[in-house]
Amino acid sequence: MKPVRKSLLAVLSFALIFVLAFTACSNQDEAVDQQPAENETDQQEQPVADDSENKGSYLERAYAGEFQGTKVSVFGPFADADEVKFEQSIKPFEEKTGIDIQYESSKEFEATISIRVEGGNAPDIADFPQPGLLESFVKTGKVIDVRTFLDEDYLKEQYNQSWLDMATMEGPDGDVMAGVWSRSNLKSLVWYPKNEFEAAGYEVPETWDELLALSEQIAADGDTPWAIGIESGAATGWVATDWVEDIMLRTTSPENYDKWVKGELPFTSDIVKNAVQEMSKIWLNDDYVYGGRKAIVTTPFGDAPAPMFDVPPKAWLHRQGNFITSFFPSGLTPGEDYDWFYFPPIDEQYGKPVLVGGDIMAMFNDRPEVRAVMEFFTTGESLKTWIQSGGTIAPMNDADLDWYSNESDRRMAQLLQEATTIRFDGSDQMPGSVGAGTFWKGMTDYVSGTVDLDEAMEEIQAGFNQ
C-alpha cells in the first residue's frame, strides 16, 4: 500500500506542475487566439452601427483586404469532381481577399445539415440543392435573410425575378430571402448518341407524338429506345419524379403546377394521374426501355446512359439534366458522340416549358466575411472556371455566354432564355416528407409494381399531412 501512495503523491504533484506549466502556455495561446475574436465582435457591431455606403459593399471591402485571415465554412452535398471544380472557382477570390473558404462535403447532406443546425454547430454557409429542405430551416428562423445586407435592386439586376421568388420563403416573422442561387441545371433534356443516331436515319422529334413515333420506330428496328435508371441509394426514385414534373408542365397550366407543388392540387387528382400515365406509356412498355422495368429500378441513374455509347448502341434516348455528362464514359466528344434535344411539348397550349434545378446558398452565421462570401456567390465570376470546364449553367445575369466552352452548354443557356415557362423541380420544393420522401418512394413502388397507380398517388399525397 505504502509505495502506491507515495508514487501517487508524486504523480499528483507532477500533475500540478504540469497544470501550472500548461496554464501559462495555454494562456499565451488564448491571448493569441483572442485577438481575431475581438476583431470579430468589433466588426459585428459595425455593420449595424454604420451603413456600408461609405465603405462600399462587403465584397468590395473583402477585395480591399479587410477580412484578411478570416475563415468561412461552407457545407454542401457535392463531392469528388464537383468539389475540385468548386475549389478551382473560388481560388482567385481566396487569393485576392485572404478569406479562407473551407468547404466540407457529406454524402448524407440532408441528415447532416439537420443535425448540425439543430446541434448549434451550423456551417457559415450551406449549399442546398433542395429549396424544400431549406424552407424547413427558414420556418424555424435559423436562416439569415440576405436582404439584410444585399440591396434588392442589386439582386433584381443579378437574377431573374423567378429565381428571387423561389428564394423567398416564409419565416417565423414574415418573408425571408433565404439565400442566393449559385448554380442551376436544366432538366428538360433528352440525350442521344448523335453520330449513330444520324447514321441510323433517325430524326430529332419536335412533338410528343413524334417522340413516341420515334420510340416505336427504334423498337421496330429491333432495338430498345430508352435508357432509364432510377437507383440512387436512399434517394432512389428522384429520376421518376423529374419525369412526372416535366410532363406535368406539358399537360397542365403553370398555375396548376404551382398548386400541385404547394399541395393544393392533390396527387390523386386526374391531372397528376394523367401525367403519370403519359409517362407510363414509355416506362412501363418493356419494348421501349432497355432491360424493362426490372432494369429501371436496379440501374444506378449514373450508369443508366452507358448503353447509349456501346457500339452499336443498345439504347438511344436518355432524359436527364445537364449534369449527367459527367457520368458519361470518358473520351466522348460533345456534339459528335452525343448531343441533346429539348424534351418536346405534349399539349401546344402550354408552350415551351423548361424544368430547372439549382443550388441555393443559405447563410447561418452572420459575420462580415460571411456576408462578403455570400455576395461573391451572387456574381457570375464565382462560377466562371466551373462554367468553362462544363457541367453547370449560371443562374446569374452577369455570367458571360462566351464562358461556355462548348456549343451544347451554350444552346442550353439559350433554351433557358427562349422558354415560355420556367419552373423549378417540384419535388425539391415540396416539403421534405413529400419531395424527398413519399414522392420518391411512391414512384419507385409504382414502377416496381409494389402498388398500383391509385394507391401510389394516395401514399404520396399522405406525405403532405405528416
Binding site: V84, I115, N121, D221, S330
Partner: protein, 363 residues
C-alpha cells in the same frame, strides 16, 4: 473404438467446415479479384471470367447485304433465322453458333466454343485510392488539366488516433462497471443494470443532436476527446453487458481468498479479474475496434469532414464519386480499409487459447 470414431468425425468436420469457409470466401474473393480489374471491365464481364471457362470465340464473320430487311427471316448459308434468334445467338451444326456483331452493319459472327480466360489486370485502382484520384478539368482553351485529390496517409493516422483510445477507454470503463455489477452489492444496482440493457437498443442517432449541442457549448466539437467520449458512450452498453456476463461467471472463491489476504478491490480487479478476462477482453476489443474503425456517421457529426481531421471511412465514401458508382475504386479502398482490422484480429487471435482458464470456471 472411440478413438476411431473421433478420427472419422474429424474427417467429416474438416470437409463440412471447408464447404462453409468456401461459401464465406466467395463474396470477398469476388471483391478481391475485381479490385485488380480495369474499371471498364468490371461492369462488362463477371469477375469469375478471370478463371478458365468455356466461352464463345469468333472464328468467322459474315457480311450480309446492307439493305436486308431484318423484320423478315434472314437467310444465312441456305438456312433462315429470325432477327431475335440472331440477337440472342443461335446454335447451328457442329456446335457453332451465329450471333450479330452489329445488326445495323448487318455483320454476323460465326463462333466456336473454346476455353477462355480474362487476363487483363491492373494496379491502377489501388494507385488512385492510395495516392489520390485524378480529375480532368476542362480548360477554357479546350485543353485538359489534371487535378489530383489528396492521399490517404493523413486520414489513416487520424483514424488510428480515434480508434485506439476509442477502444481501450470504453473497455476499461465497462470492465470496472461490470466487476461492480457482478461482485459488489450496492444500492441501485438492478436499476442501473436494467437501464444498461435497455440502452443497448437505443439507436445512436437519437443522441446526435443533443450531444452535439453540449459539445458545441463545451468546445468539444471536432476534438479527439469528444469523439472518444461519443464512441465510449455508444459502445458502453454492449461492452458492459458482455464483460458482466463474463466476469460474473468467474469463480468467486478466488476473490474471497484474495480479499482475506488483504487485497483491495482495485488490486483484485487489476491483478486478477483483468488477466483472467483476457479472452473476453480480446474478443470484445476486436468488435469495438472494428465498429470505431468503420464508423462513418459518428465521425461525420462530431469531427466533420475537413481534410485534416477526416477519418478513413469518410475518405473512402468520398472516393465513390459524388452521386455515382466508381465501383473499381471502392473495391480497392475496401481492401485497404480491411487491412488494419485484420491485423488486429491476427494479433489478438492468439489470446483465444484453450485452457487459459483451466477448469476453474463454472457455467
Amino acid at each position: 473404438m472411440p478413438e476411431k470414431e473421433r478420427k472419422r468425425s474429424s474427417w467429416i468436420v474438416n470437409i463440412v467446415l471447408a464447404v462453409i469457409c468456401l461459401v464465406w470466401l466467395i463474396p470477398t474473393l469476388g471483391l478481391f479479384i475485381s479490385s485488380f480489374r480495369p474499371a471498364t471491365e468490371i461492369l462488362q464481364t463477371g469477375w469469375w471470367t478471370v478463371f478458365p471457362h468455356r466461352t464463345w470465340e469468333t472464328v468467322e464473320q459474315i457480311q450480309l447485304p446492307k439493305d436486308l430487311d431484318l423484320r423478315k427471316p434472314v437467310e444465312v448459308n441456305g438456312r433462315t433465322y429470325t432477327n431475335e434468334e440472331l440477337r440472342a445467338g443461335i446454335e447451328i451444326e457442329d456446335g457453332r453458333r451465329l450471333i450479330w456483331e452489329n445488326p445495323r452493319e448487318r455483320l454476323l459472327n460465326v463462333q466456336e466454343r473454346g476455353w477462355g480466360m480474362n487476363t487483363s489486370f491492373t494496379l491502377e485502382n489501388y494507385k488512385s485510392v492510395l495516392t489520390g484520384k485524378e480529375y480532368e478539368i476542362a480548360q477554357p482553351d479546350g485543353g485538359v488539366r489534371l487535378e489530383k485529390g489528396s492521399n490517404l496517409s493523413r486520414s489513416f493516422w487520424n483514424t488510428l488516433a480515434v480508434s485506439i483510445p476509442g477502444t481501450v477507454i470504453p473497455i476499461l470503463i465497462a470492465s470496472f462497471a461490470a466487476y461492480a455489477f457482478a461482485w459488489m452489492p450496492f444500492p441501485g444496482r438492478k436499476l442501473i443494470f436494467v437501464t444498461m440493457i435497455a440502452l443497448l437498443v437505443v439507436p445512436l442517432q437519437v443522441a446526435l443532436i443533443p450531444v452535439l449541442k453540449d459539445y458545441t457549448a463545451l468546445g468539444l466539437n471536432g476534438s479527439l476527446l469528444g469523439i472518444w467520449l461519443a464512441h465510449t458512450a455508444f459502445g458502453l452498453p454492449l461492452i458492459t453487458y458482455f464483460m458482466y456476463n463474463y466476469i460474473s461467471q468467474l469463480p468467486g472463491e478466488i476473490f474471497e481468498s484474495a480479499y482475506l489476504d488483504g487485497a483491495s478491490n482495485f488490486t483484485i480487479f487489476t491483478r486478477l479479474v483483468l488477466p483472467l478476462s483476457v479472452p473476453a477482453l480480446a474478443s470484445i476489443g476486436i468488435f469495438q475496434f472494428l465498429w470505431v474503425w468503420n464508423d462513418y456517421l459518428v465521425a461525420l457529426v462530431f469531427i466533420g469532414s475537413q481534410p485534416d481531421v477526416q477519418v478513413l471511412s469518410m475518405r473512402i465514401a468520398d472516393l465513390v464519386g459524388s452521386r455515382g458508382s466508381d465501383w473499381h475504386l471502392l473495391t480497392a479502398a475496401a481492401f485497404i480499409s480491411m487491412f488494419m482490422p485484420l491485423m488486429v484480429f491476427f494479433f489478438l487471435q492468439k489470446y483465444f487459447v484453450r485452457g487459459l482458464l483451466g477448469g476453474s470456471i463454472k457455467g
